[in-house]
């Protein structure tokens, strides 16, 4: 746990309840949460202004897709994963292959996914 202390993780999630729960989980896992960004514009701003080590992106942000955020993260070489309630085909980002975390997810799933991202 200690080795991850202070690693910054961007959280993009439009559902506040979920964002708060994820925020708590990451906090407990020792990460420093950036965000959560509830909206696309908010997320894009954070991506530009902040520095972080990884990101968890909800695909669907109030009927908008978070792909623009993904593009930017990809461009900057920041590892990230998608979290979505849609079936796997629901992610139609045409960048590189990215892990997709299906909602609802458990703490250990988040943990493992972030470990993979940051290893």
């Amino acid at each position: 746990m200690s080795e991850r202390t202070g690693l910054r993780v961007l959280l993009v999630e439009d559902e506040a309840v979920i964002a708060f729960a994820l925020e708590d989980m990451l906090d407990e896992l020792g990460y420093h949460v950036v965000g959560p960004a509830f909206r696309l514009e908010e997320a894009l701003l954070l991506v530009k202004d902040e520095a972080f080590d990884a990101a968890i992106l909800d695909v669907n942000l109030n009927e908008q897709r978070s792909y623009a955020v993904a593009d930017e993260l990809n461009r900057r070489g920041v590892p990230f994963l998608f979290a979505t309630g849609y079936a796997e085909g629901g992610v139609q980002w045409d960048g590189r292959a990215v892990d997709v975390l299906a909602k609802p997810y458990r703490r250990d799933q988040i943990d493992a996914a972030l470990r993979r991202l940051l290893s």
């Binding site: 439009d14 559902e15 506040a16 309840v17 979920i18 964002a19 708060f20 729960a21 994820l22 708590d24 989980m25 509830f38 909206r39 669907n60 109030n62 009927e63 309630g85 849609y86 079936a87 629901g90 299906a102 909602k103 609802p104 997810y105």
Partner: protein, 786 residues
């Protein structure tokens, strides 16, 4: 001088006519001696006969020296004048015996008298049948003894001939009567001819009577039969007419009878050979012409030469004509009867009813089928009886059409109901054609009656079936297609064309079909067609494809089903027809797509909701509080979520009415609401905002119940909202509760309200824990509903 002397010497010859002068001029030295020396009795008798107008001859002396008058000289014909002074037995050699008898009787003093004595004389060189009355009486000489015989000769040939002819005519009539009677009932030509031959042979006392017909080459002569008298041979056989010599051929081929009285004499041994070889000394051969052609012969033959009389010849000619005419008639009758029999046989065994009428419109014949069908008695339908079997309502029409057609001699057709033997009526079609003879004379009609009841029913059934099919295909919007793989001909109905965006009048080909398919589906559809047509396959065809309208460019989804029909007669089955249907499944495809979307969305929402619940649970069960308390918090929050979902479901997840959301959320935890005051317009917010609002209100109510104005008896909660300058303003204000102090720790509720709802609304949300009561304010842009 000499003449005068002679006259002087024989004055008894004076005025004795030509014969008198001939006697006077003749030299009598070798017989009676010089005239002047004749005995007086001779002179006297001579003088008398010379002056008599009655034909008389005197036969003088033993030799019967003939002395006759002018009247007799006419009778003597060509023998006069040589006959004068000749010996009677030499002068008439053909009747020498007769005259010998006369001389003997007469010189013996007797007389002879003959009435209509028949003799054959050769007065002109040819034999001649004559009849005469003869009176012989002796003439006394000088001594009173008979010295000569005086004969009075009166020819009765004319009279007798007339009598004979009359008799011959009667005989002839009798002959033909008998012949007609004999052949009347004979039907076969050979019988008729045999009977005629026999009658002729017997009547004419002939040797052979034969009948023959000519071959098509007009030379071959087939003697079919003959009659032969006792002692004569039959000549039945096949001969060449040409072999009978030029005379026979010339005569017969020109329609004239060929006659010989004496074959050898007239034709000679060479030309007459064929006849003579058959032993025919005399023949009468009668030709029979039909349609300008020698077709038959009837021949009467005699072994010996024979003097055929005219009446015999005409009898043979007439018998020939009559018998052949009879044969012709019988033959025609046989042909007619056979034709009639054939017609009846055919008519009676034909499966349709048939009838015949005459020129006056009377029915003369109805076939067996008619009587079986109608149950009428045999012949009952004849005349106008048939009309009785027609349905009474149809009779006027049937009758009018029939009579009208008769008047114009036109062909006609009429439909009427005809009564069957069982009393039921069937629709029938009566079709008739006018009959004419070879001269164009109207003879009546021949017609047929066909039961068309089943056909009518079948036609009706087909019509109904087609209508049903049309309705069904129209109702189901099914298009049909029909492809001939041999010729490549393709037929589409209008609906099929519509599915390809083509006008109804468009011509279609297989290439056009492929061109009308969506490019992505072209290969699949073509492969499905080829598979259906492949020999050895099932012929089945079931494929869906998209079409791109050729004229409207519209994309449609089509389900095509069909099958190939194979011809198995060849070595390898061959597809000869390929038919099927098309259905527009565009709407169905859209619906399916929509349904898939809905399911995906539902799944997404469910998962999202589960994620929310999970998050709520995670935050509700945090910290070291009483587990029962934590469970209550969790249940309350789920209740708020459920209330919000209930409202959204009622609103079809399109929008959430603020009042309803607030009201239902509060009611979920607190039933009496008289201490709750809601004041605001009917505003709608997006569904997700509605859920966040419900969660926030829930936290406020829970807090109010625990610590705020709802915890005591008198506290109230006032909720006001509205839109001010495009911004949503909402205020939660508690009054009359116990004094409020800010919480030691901000928990789930504050977080949900201040951060969660603010983030959701993209605005500011503040909670003031004022001592007089909690106040929560929302100031955010009025959310737009998608």
């Amino acid at each position: 001088m000499l003449q005068a002397v002679q006259h002087e010497r024989a004055a008894f010859l004076n005025n004795g006519g030509e014969c008198g002068r001939l006697i006077a001029g003749r030299d009598w030295t070798d017989s009676l001696g010089p005239v002047e020396g004749w005995p007086q009795s001779l002179k006297t008798a001579t003088a008398i006969l010379l002056r008599s107008p009655v034909p008389m001859v005197m036969l003088w002396g033993e030799d019967g020296i003939m002395l006759y008058n002018d009247a007799y000289s006419v009778f003597a014909g060509g023998r006069h004048p040589e006959l004068l002074g000749s010996k009677v037995r030499e002068g008439w050699p053909e009747v020498a015996d007769f005259n010998d008898h006369v001389m003997k009787v007469g010189l013996a003093g007797g007389t002879l008298q003959f009435r209509d004595q028949e003799l054959t004389l050769y007065r002109t060189g040819k034999p001649e049948q004559v009849w005469m009355n003869l009176d012989y009486s002796p003439v006394a000489g000088e001594n009173g003894e008979p010295a000569g015989v005086l004969a009075v000769v009166i020819e009765t040939t004319e009279r007798l001939r007339a009598e004979h002819e009359l008799r011959a005519r009667e005989e002839r009539l009798r002959f033909f009567d008998a012949l007609s009677e004999a052949i009347r009932d004979l039907t076969r030509p050979e019988q008729v001819m045999a009977c005629t031959a026999q009658a002729l042979g017997r009547h004419l006392d002939a040797s052979v009577v034969a009948y023959a017909d000519m071959g098509a080459d007009e030379d071959q002569m087939n003697i079919r039969g003959d009659w032969a008298a006792d002692g004569s041979q039959s000549i039945v056989g096949t001969y060449s007419l040409g072999a009978f010599g030029k005379t026979a051929n010339r005569e017969l081929r020109n329609g004239r009878p060929f006659i010989t009285f004496d074959t050898l004499e007239e034709l000679g041994p060479e030309e007459g050979k064929a006849l003579l070889d058959l032993g025919l000394g005399a023949t009468v051969c009668m030709p029979y012409f039909r349609e300008g052609r020698l077709t038959a012969l009837m021949a009467v033959h005699s072994k010996e030469p024979r003097q055929w009389t005219n009446s015999e010849l005409s009898l043979i000619a007439e018998a020939t004509d009559r018998s052949w005419a009879h044969v012709e008639r019988v033959r025609a009758e046989v042909v007619l009867r056979e034709s009639e029999d054939r017609f009846r046989n055919m008519a009676d065994n034909t499966p349709v009813m048939m009838w015949v009428t005459d020129q006056s419109g009377n029915c003369t014949y109805l076939n067996r089928r008619w009587y079986e069908f109608t149950g009428q008695e045999q012949h009952e339908g004849e005349g106008l009886g048939w009309i009785q079997a027609v349905h009474p309502e149809d009779r006027p029409l049937a009758e009018a059409v029939f009579l009208g057609a008769n008047a114009g001699q036109d062909d006609y057709k009429v439909e009427f109901r005809l009564r069957r033997a069982d009393g039921t009526y069937r629709w029938t079609l009566d079709a008739a054609a006018a009959r004419f003879d070879s001269a164009g004379k109207f003879l009546g009609y021949v017609g047929s009656v066909v039961d068309i009841d089943e056909r009518r029913e079948a036609e009706e059934a087909i019509r109904n079936s087609e209508q049903r099919l049309r309705l069904a295909t129209a109702a189901a919007n099914i298009g049909t297609w029909d492809f001939d793989p041999i010729t490549g001909a393709l037929r589409w109905d209008q609906r099929c064309k519509e599915l390809f965006g083509m006008p109804p009048e468009a011509e279609v080909t297989y290439e056009l079909f492929l061109a009308g398919l969506h490019p992505d589906d072209r290969e699949t559809a073509d492969a499905a067609v080829q598979a259906a047509l492949a020999p050895g396959g099932t012929g089945g065809y079931s494929v869906t494809y998209r079409t791109v309208g050729l004229t409207d460019n519209q994309v449609r989804s089509v389900a095509a089903n069909g099958g190939a029909v194979f011809d198995d007669s060849g070595e390898e089955p061959r597809a000869v027809r390929f038919i099927g249907t098309v259905i527009d499944i565009t709407d169905r495809m859209k619906a399916e797509q929509h349904q898939r979307l809905l399911i995906d969305e539902l799944s997404h929402r469910a998962k999202n909701l589960l994620a929310i619940i999970q998050s709520v649970a995670q935050q509700s069960f945090k910290g070291a509080r009483d587990p029962a308390d934590m469970l209550r918090s969790f249940e309350g929050r789920l209740g708020a979520l459920a209330a919000a979902h209930g409202v959204l479901t009622r609103e079809k997840w399109e929008a959430a009415p603020i009042r309803r959301v607030i009201c239902d959320t509060i009611t979920a935890v607190k039933s009496d609401d008289h201490r709750l005051e809601l004041d605001g317009p009917d505003l709608m917010v997006p569904p997700k905002t509605g859920v966040s609002l419900a969660m926030a209100i829930h936290e406020l109510v829970t807090n109010a119940l625990k610590y705020g104005s709802f915890s005591g008896e008198d506290g109230r909660v006032l909720i006001r909202w509205g839109v001010e300058e495009g911004r949503l303003k909402l205020e939660w204000r508690e009054e009359g509760g116990p004094p409020v102090s800010p919480p030691e720790r901000r928990g789930f509720g504050s977080r949900m309200i201040e951060r969660g709802l603010a983030a959701e609304l993209d605005g500011q949300v503040r909670i003031d824990f004022r001592p007089e009561g909690v106040v929560c304010t929302v100031d955010a842009p009025m959310p737009e509903i998608a």
